[in-house]
Symmetry: C5
Subunit: 103 residues, 5 copies
Amino acid sequence: MYFGKVTGTVVASRKDEKLEGLKLLFVQQVDASGKITSTYVVAADAVGAGMGEMVMFATGSSARQTTATEGKPVDAVVMAIVDTWEIGGKVVYDKYDQEAVSV
Amino acid sequence: MYFGKVTGTVVASRKDEKLEGLKLLFVQQVDASGKITSTYVVAADAVGAGMGEMVMFATGSSARQTTATEGKPVDAVVMAIVDTWEIGGKVVYDKYDQEAVSV
Amino acid sequence: MYFGKVTGTVVASRKDEKLEGLKLLFVQQVDASGKITSTYVVAADAVGAGMGEMVMFATGSSARQTTATEGKPVDAVVMAIVDTWEIGGKVVYDKYDQEAVSV
Amino acid sequence: MYFGKVTGTVVASRKDEKLEGLKLLFVQQVDASGKITSTYVVAADAVGAGMGEMVMFATGSSARQTTATEGKPVDAVVMAIVDTWEIGGKVVYDKYDQEAVSV
Amino acid sequence: MYFGKVTGTVVASRKDEKLEGLKLLFVQQVDASGKITSTYVVAADAVGAGMGEMVMFATGSSARQTTATEGKPVDAVVMAIVDTWEIGGKVVYDKYDQEAVSV
């Protein structure tokens, strides 16, 4: 899984029927230092993630292992919302104290 | 999934029998700012996408989860046509107002 | 799928038993402008492709969806031979008129 | 599989229900010379790996083949802890003699 | 599949139980001209490959299609030992005449 930040939304009315009702999020990948990159993925939402949230996403067949995405033609899913992320004991991201951290 | 623009077509008369009747699209990947890149994929069409349309495509085993592609040797599928795509509340792409946007 | 050109052959007498009888092709990937690159893949042949032919190959679990490759430890398969490939109405490759095109 | 070093931890209270009880590790990939890189992956822990340990991780559907991860939306798993790693007879990493080696 | 050269070994005593008895090889990828690169993969051995041998490896779910790796958390397998590899009729590698070739 990788860290990502939900920075956008996508609307697609004409799509494979299995995608009906699935919310698609525009997620920009976050690098090892906590910075948002220009690498993105459009991911199905399995956890009710909101704009600006730091999330984790899984790709490939693993993206179809949530109840929301089972058997559907999606290759990426937001499967968790990050509370805290630490490297070497140092906080890189804290959902409840974003001023103290590097993102 | 990634955004892509359908920019070409492919004809292949000699192919695995499971591919009969499947339409193959030449799709160029679109980056996070909405620009078309030179990275491409040949994808099966599951939604009737046309030339010049902004689409989403899924890859890997997920590409075989549409009715059109089930059990077939394809590793990419166009599974949605994009109406609008916004980042941070700003419209990057709008199918019905393309002059106003950055693509 | 990606476009590739069959430029070489591989012989391997000691191999997993499921690979017996499977022809392996050395395929160099072709970029969006039709040029052969140094990126390669060794792919199983499901369509009787010959040296110098422009083909399409699929990777991952999709490579095991042909009759020739089902259940075998191969992660790439040549599943079609390209007749024509057009971008924006312009011919990039034409199997029967290669002098007129850019490859 | 690739070598990685466990350098961080992740806490995510809001997640897909199948992820309950699964420990997630922040793992930085190690290159062929034994150096830690900035390429990372968040991986499920199947072997009780601790901070600072040199591990191996598997990705894709293979990440779901451990008892800990079966059927879960994870695309990376730490499936082994490295004792020794040698290239050309030279020790690159030795868990019990880290001063003698290059990591 | 890609070509690789077996250049090292890995020992891991603490690992997922399904990995017991599986030999893990350190394999460095070989590029289209036959040169060894710094890109590596740790792959399960399904063919009894030895140090210094030129092999082919498969990745992803295809790595689990050999008898040795079925159902196991490995995402790469050495599934063949290369005898000869030719490009455009020119020998790039010949197991029995390595002085004559470019590797």
